[in-house]
């Protein structure tokens, strides 16, 4: 799974924002080498710049200094093989387009495909996220979990190499969340994607990932970089009961709590 050749390289990323009375440094020198096919989760205290880092990787935001390289090429604007999935699916899906047309959006714009191919691929992806039969619905007619599946389907339809997901499950209920976790984990293994996943949920990160990166408070640096060597296939009950799982979780939570100024290890 872990090819040694660097696929997604984040080199010396600094990001400063204009703030009242000067500038605020959000990211203060982030270096990361992400291997092809890995599932990396980024956690950190709120406001540490996790989302900004992800947007820089997506080419949606320019770093103040440093650069991102994808397969050796500098990221300068959104690369075709990288799709960013927003946390706010209700705002990211186009409400005037049906589910089908939303999913086809990337295909229609990215590649010169025939109408038939687009429809076929759209149907195929919708089946993959278990939304067959909802083609003609509008996104706002669906539940939150279904809407996020539409957003994921739209991203996958372009057959990206890299999926960047910004707290994609934070707005859905706990059971829907488990369903979406399984969906993304399955797709990741099935399609050989590289996933970078921002979350505030340590458990979710450990369960899903092959590697966890914890950022410190802003100005953020990498506080912990931890390979997650839990066996596959993973299971929502069994994996989460493994002593290794609990150990990873405890180490990451300790870092997070220390950063937030919360003094407790009992809480873990």
């Amino acid at each position: 799974m872990n090819a040694s050749r660097p696929f997604l390289s984040i080199r010396g990323i600094h990001k400063a924002f204009a703030a009242p009375g000067g500038t605020t440094v959000a990211l203060n020198g982030i270096d990361l080498e992400i291997a092809r096919g890995s599932f990396v989760s980024i956690i950190g205290p709120s406001g540490c710049g996790k989302s900004t880092l992800l947007q820089i990787m997506a080419g949606l935001v320019e770093p103040t200094s440093g650069a991102v390289f994808l397969d050796g090429r500098k990221v300068d604007g959104p690369p075709p093989s990288v799709i960013y999935v927003f946390q706010q699916y209700t705002r990211s899906l186009f409400p005037w387009k049906t589910v089908e047309r939303n999913v086809a959006f990337g295909l229609e714009n990215r590649e010169r495909l025939s109408r038939e191919t687009i429809i076929a691929r759209t149907r195929e992806i919708l089946a993959l996220v278990k939304l067959t039969g909802f083609e003609r619905y509008f996104p706002w007619q669906l539940s939150g979990g279904m809407q996020q599946r539409v957003a994921i389907a739209r991203a996958l339809a372009c057959r990206p190499d890299v999926l960047l997901m910004d707290e994609p499950f934070s707005a859905v209920d706990a059971l829907t969340r488990v369903g979406l976790q399984e969906l993304v984990r399955g797709l990741w293994r099935e399609l050989g994607l590289t996933v970078v996943f921002v979350t505030h949920d340590v458990d979710e990160g450990v369960y899903l990932s092959s590697r966890m990166v914890a950022l410190s408070r802003a100005p953020a640096r990498i506080a912990i970089d931890l390979p997650i060597e839990l066996p596959y296939p993973r299971d929502q009950i069994a994996t989460r009961a493994l002593p290794e799982y609990l150990d990873y979780r405890a180490r990451l939570l300790a870092q997070l709590f220390a950063d937030e100024g919360l003094v407790s290890t009992e809480a873990a």
């Binding site: 959104p78 705002r91 409400p95 005037w96 959006f105």
Partner: protein, 281 residues
């Protein structure tokens, strides 16, 4: 203009009001208000018959309706109305097209905003009758003048609303489009325009009412045909019943145009109503 907006609102259903039987519920229906109009017309008739008001300038409603019917079947009214409506639509669609185009450009490109915002703010507040004499000077009193007047007046509500709509496009939608490689003119056409459509329609509805007003005004000031000319010349020739019939005609035209507009808007923006309803819940 304002009643047009009101009639499209759903009738409010006051909570806790329990009424039994069909007659008691009548006041909640549309027929209640329609009945009120009929009552006013009947009072008009009564006032004219009893001579409370000088009958010279206040004919009986029944006489007005009879005259109205006469000029309808004689084709006189259609002969006056049709050219007016055609001029109105010509001007309206030119104004809407320019308003949408300029509003998109100003909302989307900072350059066009800086260039055009001041002149918009200077021209917009001028009441259209004020520049009518200037337009007559340059374009005469024929169709060109009226179409220009109507399109110029219809332009601003559409422009301002389109601009607001473009500025209000959710940045997440723009970012989403960018992550799929959609930028520039494609972004304008595929995301900004549909997203701003509810605003554009609001502007278009205001402009429709404005177009009707300016059509009548320009025909009253300078014309030899058209419904505005018809009303004014009827008044000058003491054909009072014709005058009232002309005004009633405009009421009907305004009402029908608005209903048509609402029907089209409901179809085009069905997604918007569903979406906002879902957001509210």
């Amino acid at each position: 203009m304002s009643d047009a907006v009101k009639t499209d609102l759903p009738a409010p259903a006051p909570p806790g009001v329990k009424t039994a039987g069909g007659i008691a519920l009548l006041w909640r229906t549309r027929w209640f208000g329609v009945g009120f109009i009929a009552l006013l017309l009947a009072l008009w008739e009564l006032a004219a018959v009893s001579g409370w008001v000088p009958s010279m300038s206040f004919p009986r409603m029944s006489a007005v309706l009879a005259t109205w019917w006469e000029i309808i079947i004689s084709g006189e009214l259609v002969g006056e109305l049709l050219p007016s409506i055609l001029r109105m639509f010509a001007g309206y669609f030119i104004g809407v097209a320019l308003g949408v185009a300029l509003g998109l450009l100003m909302g989307y490109f900072r350059f066009f905003y800086s260039l055009l915002e001041p002149i918009t703010e200077v021209l917009r507040p001028i009441p259209s009758p004020a520049y009518l004499p200037i337009v007559i000077l340059f374009l005469g009193i024929d169709d060109e003048m009226k179409i220009f007047m109507i399109s110029f007046a219809s332009l601003f509500p559409v422009l301002l609303n389109t601009y607001s709509g473009v500025r209000g496009v959710d940045p997440i939608q723009l970012q989403t489009a960018r992550t799929f490689g959609v930028t520039g003119w494609k972004l304008l056409w595929q995301i900004v325009l549909p997203s701003a459509a509810p605003y554009i329609f609001t502007g278009m509805r205001v402009s429709l009412a404005v177009a009707l007003i300016v059509m009548v005004i320009s025909e009253m000031v300078a014309a030899s045909s058209g419904i505005g000319y018809f009303i004014l010349s009827a008044q000058r020739g003491f054909k009072i019943r014709e005058m009232f019939a002309g005004v009633l005609t405009l009421a009907v035209v305004g009402y029908v145009l608005n209903r048509l507009f609402v029907a089209i808007e409901n179809k085009v923006l069905a997604w918007h109503y569903g979406y906002t309803l879902q957001q509210r819940n």
